[in-house]
Assembly symmetry: none
Homo-oligomer: 197 residues x 4
DNA sequence: GATGAATGAGCGTTCATTCAT
DNA sequence: GATGAATGAACGCTCATTCAT
């Protein structure tokens, strides 16, 4: 029971920190701000996490887990042979960043830290790889099922991930004018047009 | 002559700062670090730039200018009707980030700051727009020349930019294993396959 | 109880700063110096005050409060109709700066900052006005009681304050030789000679 | 001839610095600001003065000289036995600060520095003494001439100076509402009422 | 003479971290 | 468990002063 309470607190702090990053940006998140957002004292934060970096890693892992669960859910849903779109995982990715506007901000924030932080780097790398792997598996299965041409799944999946990231970034910059739906639909069409028989 | 010397110093500081960002990441660039990289005293830096942010904006503008000049050069080169690849501007983008490994790091760094810095945001936005516009023009002219299908150039160009950014990011994360050439070639093929008659 | 401890610390810092101003002069008071005088770290100071200016304003307000309480005390004491001296408030002012040698230093220091700091200016103005008002009331009551001639109390009180400030400044400059008692006695005599029936 | 040019430059710099103090306050005067006000380069300033403090001392000396010349002029004018006012030097002092609004600011600025700067202190002291001495002489001569009572001139002159300083300070604080003329007239009346036969 | 580039000490302030209570 | 007082290193920046040109 105590463990659960502790786990709750930890999760509460992680969520507060996530909101903090979304609103202020990674660089402007302070321990004070996290404490404020969490409605706890500064001391309480350091009681559960030994350093700021530890909190950030927990946030990143939480993000990874959240995204993975969505990815996994989609994998389960796309067993129909005809579903070319879902098989690719492109729609899934677009849906992800479409519904949560803040996701790209946080990903880019961590990405920019990753070059000087091996721990961040490896979590991000693993996440990207998991997503590519999902997409790759989908392509392979589509290929095996005869609905896709014979293509290298690893290459296609990289392109799929690139489109999600690249389109997400451009919407980030362009907020108001970006026609997300039209562009994401076209991106899917282009890829499927290439690999579909 | 004196003016030139001053301009040299300014350019020297901007370059030092760029290297600094590449090696340490934006967040870890300090005035002290810039001074060290530039081989000058801290005071000398503030003699030429009134604030750290001013240096950063100069770096970003310099980056913008550099990229634009390459983009412009490519525009001049692609007057042959048959050159489907260059017309799109995809090859150009890939070449850019292929040859300068550090470019993506710096772009992502500034991008992550942009959400809290309108000045950065507008420079980045303008750069992305310039690139999209180049690509868009290429698509339009290809369309007019009858080598491309009738497509919305604005959409295609967004996808082109997305591919360059998204592939660049993945190489950034994957440094050693990423098969940049194979992936970029395939990305081009997919897009051209879609729009070519 | 905890609150009291915090209030103690704040008061401790304010006192340390006051001593600092007395010994070094406003312009030479640094956060480091305040911390040293208070026997705390620099960080501890900013824990209680968000800026140096905030400390200074606290010092000035404390000064104002201290002086006002003396002024008030004197007001209570001067209900005897015959007490021409106390009624004016001149003796009170002289006593004030006579007993605390450092007072004039600090007042002049803040005064010199006031032209560029509206917050200081308004606190000083309010203090001066409170003192003039006390003096003015005394004159008026003396006038009503028939022990003073009919004079404009507002003018007399300004002259009273001027004498306290002007004599205080000259003692400040002249430290050793200044015959404070003889001069202040004569100043009172001159004013009382004018307004007494 | 060269000497004169140099003297001109020095005087030019001193004047620029004086204006600088008036507009910004002593604490905010920088070498850069002086150079700007003087329309010279920073190097030119240090060519004529070896340090910032040296310029300030020159400004203070210039101020002393200016004031002394006015004081001296008045001394010459007040040989008429009947002129009780001028003899005291009170009118002179009031005229001085009445016509040049900025004078009190600068005097207070230097005064606040004086406690930690013996050079400033001695110049200010000497100026105050010169003024007291003038007033004192006037009182003495008035006493000898039989138009004044027998009083201690040293004491009266201190009170005269106190009134000028104290009234000047109050006008400084009160800018808009201060009724300078009425108050200064009354101040004179009070003193003369006391010492006149 | 005159310039302004360059220096570096010192400023106010921020903030992750420690620890007594 | 929980607090927030306290620390001190590091930050961006200012500015009097020096000195090569």
């Amino acid at each position: 029971m105590k463990k659960d309470k502790s786990a709750d607190r930890i999760s509460h702090i992680v969520n507060a920190t996530f909101r903090c990053i979304v609103e202020k940006g990674y660089a402007n998140v302070t321990m004070n701000a996290i404490a404020e957002y969490a409605g706890l004292s500064k001391g309480a934060i350091t009681h559960y996490f030994k350093s700021k970096q530890d909190i950030m890693i927990a946030v990143l892992n939480e993000l990874d887990t959240k995204l993975y669960s969505i990815v996994h859910k989609i994998k389960e849903e796309t067993n129909s042979k005809e579903d070319l779109h879902y098989r690719l995982g492109l729609s899934a990715g677009f849906q992800l960043i479409r519904n949560d506007f803040t996701l790209m901000f946080v990903i880019i924030d961590f990405l920019s830290q990753a070059s000087n932080n091996t721990e961040y780097a490896s979590i991000i790398k693993s996440f990207i790889e998991k997503y590519r792997s999902l997409s790759s598996d989908g392509v392979q299965s589509g290929s095996d099922a005869g609905v896709y041409k014979h293509v290298k799944p690893g290459i296609i999946s990289t392109i799929v991930v690139a489109l999600v990231l690249g389109i997400g970034i451009q919407r980030m910059i362009d907020k108001e004018q970006f026609n997300f739906d039209e562009i994401s639909t076209m991106a899917e069409e282009i890829v499927i047009n290439y690999i579909a028989r």
